[in-house]
Every structure is written in structure tokens, then in C-alpha cells.
Symmetry: D2
Subunit: 366 residues, 4 copies
């Protein structure tokens, strides 16, 4: 295994806390899900952000700490209802953490008022709304929104000027980051791609369900939605765009008994004559300057625990001369880089802040 690359000659965290105003005002729609709570946890410590409104349709009027006692001492605002759209007039940006289909209506209203929107769900992830409708079985009611796909490292320039960002999904963030260097450089056949992905249980959301009960899933694992998971077209959209070839891939999600974490194992056939060094170069050129991507090099093995609670994506790659395939393995925290952390990363880009502002938390290990 190659040594991890220590690329940060200037460390980014040599800041000093001083009393001072928080200049940005934001709100969170759908604060009681896991992604909403993670957003709160990040934004409370974001030095430039003041949280104005947090909403929940099922818990309207209650304190957020009734749902999340771990926020006690930090935050005890009451939850309002998103139906009161006027309240958001004092916010420069609104994060939406709702199930798919529920962000389009409010998103359109907010954007019309010039409020920037970062949607953590799927509503704004697809350039072609027909693809959305086909996979999500919901009519898209905000076509032509101009939304930008929110995978920061790969769409940063568009995000800078976006009014609406469709934050990338958890499986997709890990998988697209793993494959983008090779797709962009045409080193792989994108039609040969197989993505075998594994998620911790928080990915299933915070709702009572027998299938998600502790006793059912502890010491257990399984696959689900084979050949039909909705993150499939999201990965295909990116790979198609990067490679210029139509990517049709196999994507298999699994649940494993962890709280958090995505581990993605991505297989692809290498083109004729592609060398290991070509592969190495593709990763380094694309990512060496990226703060949140840690390249473990050829032969490197990420572990989800090294990313837990942090916004990092750790990536290693392996070349199998016997099959002429490349295997890329990547790990993220599904609630951070796969949801709330990347949403804040996108927010920072949209407002011209240092991209890692509020996101320098180190993984909780062990």
C-alpha cells in the first residue's frame, strides 16, 4: 500500500475563535430526520451561520431537543411549520431535508424569492426530469429549475452560481467520487461498471420499522432493491457526462449493522493498454488539491470508521492484471459527506466561504 498523501502544506484549521457576529442566516426544513439533525449539529458550530428557523410538520411547536436530547445545551429552538413560507424571508439560504417529492413545491417558492436552496433529497438531482419521474414515480413539478447537482468536488464551478443545488445522495457520492477520475480520463469502459455498496442503518432514516429494529438487523446483513435502486440513475448521469458514453451500470445496495457509513466497491474493465500509472495519475490529478478527499493510493484500503463523523471521502484503488479490471473502494459517513456535510460544503461554495468552514471535525475513532 502506498503512503497516504499529505498534501496540506498549509493546515486549514489554524483559526482562532473570537467573539463576533455570525453573518449568514439560514433555515432548515425537515429538521427532525437524521440528516436534519446532522445539519443542525454542523451549523451550530459553523462560525458564519445563524440558524433562523427549523421546521417539522409532525413535531410543529415542540423543541428540537425533545427529539434529540444530544442537542441540549446547544440549541433549543421550537420547530415551526414549513407551510409558513414567509418566515424564510429572513434567510439567505434554506436547507431542505425532506423525503423526495416534498422539496419541489417549497423549493420553487423559495427560489422565486431569491433564497438559495440546498435540497438534500432527490428532487433536484437530475438534469432530465423524465429520469426522475421514471425512477421516483412522482411528477416533477419544478421543471427547468436550473438546479445544479451538488457533488461539490465535481460540480464546484456550477454550484458557485446556483440558486438551487440538488445535494448528491449518499451511495452516489461515494461511488461517483470513486469512479469519476477514471470516467473523465476514459480509462474504463463505463458500461462494465458494477457498484456494490454497503450502508449503515442510519441510511434508512428515523422512522419506526420492524425491518430496522435492532434485534432484526444486529448480527445481520442483506441486499435490497437489486437492479432497481434509485441511486442507479444518479450514478449513471454522472458517469455518462464525464465519459461522454452512455453509462448503464449495475448497482447493488446492502445494509450492514453499523450506525453510519457508506462503503462502495466499484468494478470496471480497464481499456486496452491502460497502465497502473495511468490510473494513479487520474486520481492524483483530479483530487490532489481536494481537501475532503484523502487518496490512500494504489493498494489502499479505506475503512468507514476513519470517516465517521467527518466530511472526508477516503479512496483506494486496486488493479487486477488477471481480469484487467480496476477495483476502487471508497468510504464516507453517509450523514456527513453523504448528506449534511456536503450540503454545508455546497453552501460554503455558494456563498464564497472557505469550503471547509465548519467542516473540520475529525472522525470519531474508535
Amino acid at each position: 500500500m502506498q503512503k497516504l498523501l499529505h498534501k496540506y502544506t498549509v493546515l486549514v484549521y489554524n483559526y482562532k475563535m473570537t467573539k463576533g457576529g455570525r453573518t449568514m442566516k439560514v433555515s432548515i426544513i425537515g429538521a427532525t430526520g437524521y440528516a436534519g439533525a446532522e445539519l443542525l449539529g454542523i451549523l451550530i458550530n459553523h462560525p458564519e451561520v445563524e440558524i433562523r428557523h427549523i421546521t417539522s410538520e409532525s413535531q410543529t411547536g415542540a423543541a428540537i431537543t425533545d427529539s434529540y436530547p444530544h442537542l441540549n445545551g446547544f440549541y433549543n429552538k421550537k420547530l415551526s411549520s414549513m407551510t409558513d413560507v414567509d418566515q424564510f424571508a429572513d434567510s439567505q439560504a434554506v436547507f431542505i431535508a425532506l423525503p423526495h417529492g416534498h422539496a419541489m413545491g417549497i423549493g420553487q417558492q423559495l427560489a422565486a424569492q431569491g433564497i438559495k436552496v440546498i435540497d438534500l433529497g432527490a428532487d433536484y438531482r437530475f438534469r432530465d426530469e423524465d429520469v426522475y419521474e421514471q425512477w421516483y414515480k412522482v411528477p416533477h413539478i419544478h421543471r427547468g429549475s436550473g438546479a445544479v447537482y451538488g457533488l461539490t468536488e465535481l460540480y464546484r464551478e456550477q454550484i458557485k452560481n446556483a440558486t438551487i443545488v440538488g445535494n448528491a445522495g449518499c451511495f452516489t457520492t461515494a461511488s461517483i467520487l470513486a469512479l469519476a477520475p477514471l470516467a473523465k480520463t476514459h480509462l474504463i469502459d463505463v458500461k462494465s461498471v458494477v457498484v456494490d455498496a454497503k450502508s449503515g442503518m442510519s441510511g434508512a432514516g428515523r422512522s419506526a420499522s420492524l425491518a430496522n429494529n435492532f434485534a432484526e438487523m444486529f448480527d445481520n446483513m442483506k441486499a435490497y432493491n437489486i437492479a432497481g435502486h434509485r441511486h442507479t440513475p444518479e450514478i449513471e448521469q454522472a458517469l455518462t457526462e464525464f465519459s461522454g458514453q452512455e453509462a448503464i451500470i449495475s448497482f447493488t445496495p446492502h445494509v450492514v449493522p453499523m450506525s453510519r457509513g457508506i462503503f462502495s466497491t466499484c468494478y470496471a474493465n480497464l481499456g486496452v493498454g491502460v497502465t497502473p500509472e495511468d490510473v494513479d495519475q487520474a486520481f492524483h490529478e483530479l483530487y490532489d488539491q481536494e481537501y475532503f478527499i484523502r487518496l490512500l493510493g494504489r493498494g489502499g484500503y479505506p475503512a468507514v470508521k476513519n470517516t465517521r463523523g467527518s466530511n472526508f471521502c477516503d479512496i483506494g484503488w486496486h488493479i487486477d492484471p488477471r481480469t484487467n479490471r480496476v477495483v476502487v473502494v471508497s468510504a464516507i459517513d453517509n450523514l456527513v459527506k453523504g448528506a449534511a456535510g456536503q450540503a454545508v460544503q455546497n453552501f460554503n461554495v455558494m456563498f464564497g466561504l472557505a469550503e471547509n468552514t465548519g467542516l473540520t471535525k475529525i472522525a470519531l475513532y474508535p
Copy 2:
């Protein structure tokens, strides 16, 4: 999802316990590892077996219950040393549960005395000992042993008459059982096979190791030995034999935070014109009469917990018309069907006993 097939018109457990002699005498070499302990747990309840000797080189002279208090009340024999080969003269069969490289010497001695050998390690798994030497980096000192590969369902006829059986590995049992129906019927391109496999932590064996410490692996997962794991040639040997084509596959093992269990996700390109019904038929024809294989049908989802502590292999398959790939998912308990249970299944076959004798334990759920 198709209904699970209930093929057992005559239930096998309608036996009655009566006092009576246990007719078969066996010994276990290497009883203090997890596979050895699992063998003990099974054989103690096997109605035809009397355990004669159990060995351990590191614990010679100690009681097995010093290592495994859960055996208290059932078994408290002292551990002997395998170097005393004469002791095995009273045994009709010897199970060997040693690290690879250590079974060949004693195996040769035992076989020479007419004692049947079931080796749970890798030493006797390969028809071509050169393949063994290439992957295991150990000289094979018992060439031409006539050993039979011990994946019972697929090699039953040879096992019946074998003197030495090389019990199939854990990843390989789950993976070969998943792919054999399609390889045998030539429905897939065996060169396109990708096997993405996940194991519980008992697969790492019972030895102190920082990498296997609880705090390191809890809420964690990772891949290892990508493009180099030694179960790769074992799967290739079987697929090559079944398909008549040289199979070179991608195999990626992972560790996930479970005690036990193998989950194998197998991808392959379907041949031109292959229909979903062709695939269904391949599975049903090969396995409908198999006691230990539970077909969950097309669209079925196995879960490792349904096999925990049992000798079953649960299999489901999925066809993706977008990619023309088939995805077969299978689950076993790595210590039972992936090790000790299959060893006893092979033993039963070798001695003409009902194949599930001693193996009717139901999974521990939840």
C-alpha cells in the same frame, strides 16, 4: 418475490431419541479454533458419533472448557497433541481444523492408515497442486492424494468414496453455490463474474490481533486482499469445471461487524437470449432436492441472520434487463455451512449416513 419452495414432504426431524450406542468414532485435530469448537458443538449432538480425541498444540493437556466455557456440561475432555499419531488408530475419521500448510503431513499419515480425513483448511482443495502452491506460497507435500473437493451438493458422488476431503472454504461455498447452476447450464459468461463477498469477524479466526479488536471493527467495515484473496482460485476451479470455460474472476472480500455470516453478491453477464425463466429453471433443477439449500426464488433476498447457527445456504437471484446481468445473492453461516457443518455433511456422505444427521439445527433468530 417467488414463494420459497417447501420441498420437504417428509420432515427429517421426526426422530426419537432413545438411549443407544453411538457407532462412529472420530477425532478432531485443532479443536481450539472457532471451526474446531463449532465441530465439537455439532458432533456432541450427532447421534452416531463418539468423539475420541481432540488436539491442540498450544493447549495440550488443558480441558477444552478452559478455552470454551460454553461447552461446560457437555464436554470436558483434555486436549492431546496431534504429534501422537497413534492415538487416532481408534478413529474412523479425523477432522482437521488447522491453518493451511499444516494438514498435509498428518493427512498423509492418517490416510495411509485407512482413516478418512476431512480437512477444513485449504491443503486439499485444489486438483492442481501448483495452483495451491502459487496462491498459498507453501510447497504441497501430499501431491496425488486423490482428495475430493468438499462442497457437498456439487461433489457428492466423489465424496462418497473419498478418503480425503478438502472441505470448501466459507466465501467459496456461498459463492460457488450461487453461481454453479448458471455455470453448469452455460447461461453466463464465466469470464464476466464479479464476486463481492462480506464476512463476519469470526472468519478471521480466534487469535489476538489489534485489527480484530472490538473497538477497531465495531461500527466499521472494510475490504481486504483485493485481487489477491486465496479463495479466488477455488471459485475459479469450480466455475471452470462446471462451465468448461476457463474462469478468471474478480473476488473482493470484506469484513463487516457481525459475529458470523457470509453474504455473497455475485454478478455475471447473461448469454444472448437467456430468459429469466432459463435462470429460474437452472436453480430449481440443480437444487430443488437439496435439503440444505433454500431457494428464495427470483427477486428473493437472503439475510445472514436466517442462517445463523444453521447449515443452510439461502439463495435469491435477480435479473437486470438494463445491463443483461444476473445478480445472485447468497447467505450462509461461515462456521457451519462454511466450515464445520459442511464438514459433518461430508462426513455423513462418506459414511452413508443421512446427509443431515446432526445438522437439523434451526437458525438462532433473532
Copy 3:
């Protein structure tokens, strides 16, 4: 730590399976909960038992394997409704695994027909129905039932002739077995007893609940129902009876992130002049002949994993000369010795079968 006592000079499992009739007919009311499923798992392998009817009010008409795929290959009967009381006329015994309050009505009807009843819930656990009503807030509608408390080792003689047995609870089985030797011999002050008990998550039953969701309870633990848990009066009833003194105890239950298992830590003040040898003797006299109790001795440390899936209760005890307290620690599997296993043990006693018939399963380790 003392050596574990190997008391079994004659092993009990040297039986031989032979084809033959299963002579006892039983039914299970409430088969779809975890205790019901565990009962099924045990009774399917019980050599004397034929299962006639299994019921579920919520799943009437469905196959039990729809709820529990791990039973596939063993059992696929349809679930009936308990409201059809006539169906039980062919059963010699009926196990009831319903929430408290629901067993009394059907229990009375069955007993009136001469069918023996083993209730796994709380309805029949209290000699004084007023205590039941006070703690469970439900009117007791079957007063004077003659029910016997089903903690086998301690109430065996009464159980032999009982028509109705109120199977002991999970926390209570572990705790009463730990304290009974000392209460019966008056070595401890029963008013000083503190029981600090820990349960795996299957103790919460099989129902969807946010509090029991995997992501909520993984890497987590907490206490609940402090000074108010309903197992308190059950322990007090036993200790009062054994000691002849009114026992009022502190009982604190906790949930810890395990599938199964009860671990009970019991504290009591020793009487003046009580010696360590007195304590040892109390345990050995009461339990040395008990198959399902494994005494780890003074200084012994049980671990729940050594009992997982088995009907054993492992007990160790510790004397603290600094405080003159004894600390007794015990471990069981909550679904086996704490529910279904003990129910079958009671059944065996009621029908004159060897007490461990069908219960010789070894713990699943690791």
C-alpha cells in the same frame, strides 16, 4: 477463580435418533412474537412433541415462514386464530406467548377442558392477584386459578402437578436463581437486595418502535423503569417466600446493544458471621444436581455469550470483605431460559419427561 464444576458424570445427550412417533400434542398461542418463534424452534426439534396449532391474531391465515423465513424447511403451517378455542381440544398442552392481560381468558377456558397451560406472560406469576393488579394495572379475571410459578429449579415439585404454570420472566429467572441459595439459607438480608439487570434488545419484543430502531440503540445503552419495573414484585415474591422475611428490593433494568441475553448483578448484605464457605455451600447444595445451572464458583464470571441459544443459567459469586456484601452475577439467554426454553422445561416436568428433553442445544459461540 474456582474451576467450573463438571457435575455430569453421565452425559445426557447419548441418545440416538430413531424413527418413531411423537407422542405429545401441543399448540402455541401467539406464535409470531420472539418468544413464540423460539418455542417453535425448540419444539420442532423436541423428540416427543407434535405441534398442532399455532395462532396469531394479526397474521391469521398466513404461514409462519412469512414472519420467520429462518423456519423455512422446518415448518410452514398456517397461523390460526385463538378465538377458535375448539381447535385446542386435540392438544395436551398449550403454550401462551401473549402480552400480559391476554392469557387469563383463554387460559381459564383451556384449563376448564383439562388442557395444561404454560403461560409465558405475567398473568399467572403471582400468588396474590392483587399484586398483579397493582403493578400491571389490569383486573385479574382468573383468580384462584391454582397456577404455579414456573421457575423450574425452585418450584419443580409444584410444577409436576400443575394445570397452569406462570412461566417466570426473563430478568426474574436470572435474578431469582442468583439469589435463591442465599435467601433460602438466610445468609443475606433480603431487604438490602439491589438487582442491577441488563437485557439484550430482543427483550423489547418484535414490534416496530423508534426507541428500538437499530440506529438509536446501536453503540448505546440506558436504564428504564427505575423503581417501577414489573419484574420487581416477581423477585420480591420469591425472595419473601424463600427467606420468610418480607423482601423489598431495588431493581433496575437496562437495555444494552445485544440481540439476546440477560446479565444480572445482584448485591446483598451478608448476615453477621457469614463466611465465604457458607455462601459456597448454599450454592452447591441447591444447584449441584441441576442440569441447567452451571456454577462458576466463588470468583466466577459468567458471560452472556456462553449461554446464547441455550437453556443454561451461569452463576458466579463474589464476597467483598470490605463491605460485607455478596455480589452474585448470572447470565441467561432471555428467549431460552428466560422464556421459551424454561417453558419447555416446565412442560417436560409437567408430563414426566426427562427435564432436558429437546433442550440440549449448546450455546452458539462466538
Copy 4:
């Protein structure tokens, strides 16, 4: 359950990051254990701290990221040897995270040079070094050190002026914080105290050990060191001091299958005539102004997950009128409030910084 008290009228995290010098220089001796790594994780984000030297005797010369890849991108200094005492001359404070017995020698040398020492081990926790020698079986070679016990909330004034602080242990921090309000106000009989404590597996430290292997401890729990654990005299020292009565307590530690976390269940007899309101008042008077203590009130239930990764101690209390006992339950993260976090809290106090500087991290939930 009472509402949690939101006492923070002025939130403490409304600081703004600005580029600027970090004014305090510190070193860490023993950086490769879990406590050392946690210290690094905290101090890297501490706005006033510059880390000068980190040491490891077993890994001297290696990068810390070789041991802890999760620190990649944040910190990649090489580990030095503590035997080079001169290197610490540039440090104003040194944190020592070594096994007990190893801090006294270096601690004495550092203190002699006027460097402040915060020892996370046991060497400096006891006022009476004889007690240390009796429980730890090691001669105390730095008697009369003037060390102060480092449980910040209860010894803050002494800590302010201390040269050496003996940081409180993990079990003890949770347990003493739970009992101090009642001991100080003489509401309980300190001789009646029973502390039943549970720890996650990181408490066992980072060393390879069969007992700590994943497969051994997953789905398992057990007690250890009953009536002999070394945290016993530490709790007794504090309770004796607070109450003015000699406290001799029962303390039982357990390991449960979590990465992190301490849960302490503390029982004590209430004095005659003590009312529930007296108990409430004792907690509120002592802790209402404490940032890192969250009172969940009478009837409150802490959960370790609400503290995971944070420096909070959550406390609830319950009064049992039947037994006249109080049960106090508390939860902390063993590596933060139970080790590294409290060490930094003490450091902040010693140097006149705001006590929560660098410690405002919110728990990672779920």
C-alpha cells in the same frame, strides 16, 4: 420526567474563526493509545493550542497517521521518545497518557522544570499515596507532589493553581458526578453506596487481546474485577471527602458491546426524612451553572449515545419510596469526559481559558 434545564443564556460557541496565532504550546506523552489519540483530535481543533511533541515508546519515529489514519489531513507529525526530556522545554503543559506507574518519573521531571502536567492515568489521583500503592501494587515514587484530583466540576479551585493534575478516571468521573450532590449535602448514607457501572470496549485500551476480540465481545457482556477494581478507592476518596464520613462502597464494572461510553447506576440509602425535593435541590445547586453537566431531572434517563464524542455528563435521578433509596444514573463518553476531554477542561482551567474552549463538540448521533 422533568424538562431538561436550558441554563445557557449566553451560548458559548458564538465565536468566529479568524486566522491567528495559537498561544499555548503543549505536548502529549503516550499519543498512540485511544486517550492519546482523542487528545490529539481535541487539541488539533483547540483554538489556543499548538501541539509541539507527541511521543510513543513503541512507535518512535513513525508518523501518528500510521497508527491513526483518521488523522490524515490534520496532523502528520512524527512520534518522538519521552526519554528525551529536554524536548518538552518548549511546552507550557504536557499531557501524559501512559499506563499507571509510568507517569510519576517523567511527571516529577517536568514539574521540576515548571511545566504543568495533566496525567490521564492513576498515578496522581490519590491524596494518600499508600492507598495508591495498596490498590495498584506499585511503589509511588513521587510522594508529596501536590497533585490535585482532576474532576473539574468538583475540584476547580484547586486545579486553577495546580502544577500537576491527576485527571479523574472514566468510571469514577461518571460515578462521582452522580453522587457528589448527595454526599456533599449529607442526604445519603455513603456506606450504603452501590455503583454498578458499564463501559464500552475502548475502555480496555488499544492492545491486541483475545478477550477484546470482536467475535468474543460482540453480542456479549460480562462483569470483571468485582470487589477489586481500582476505581473503587478513587470513588471512596471523593465521597469520604464530600460527606465527612468514611465511604466504603461496592463497585462493579462491566463491559458491554459499545465502542465508547460509560453508564453508571448508583444506589444509596436516603437519610431519614429526606424528601424528593431535597434531592432535586442538591443536584440543581451544585450543577445548574456547570456547562458540561446536563441535568435530566428527577425521573430522567440518560443514554450514552447522547454523549458520544462530547464532553458532557448527563445525569438523572430516581427516588424509590418503597426502599427509601435513590438511584442516580449518569452517562459520559469514556474517552472524552472520562479522559481526554476532561484533561483539556482541566488544562483550560489551569491556564485561565474559558473552560469549554475546544470542547464544544456536539455528540455524534446516531
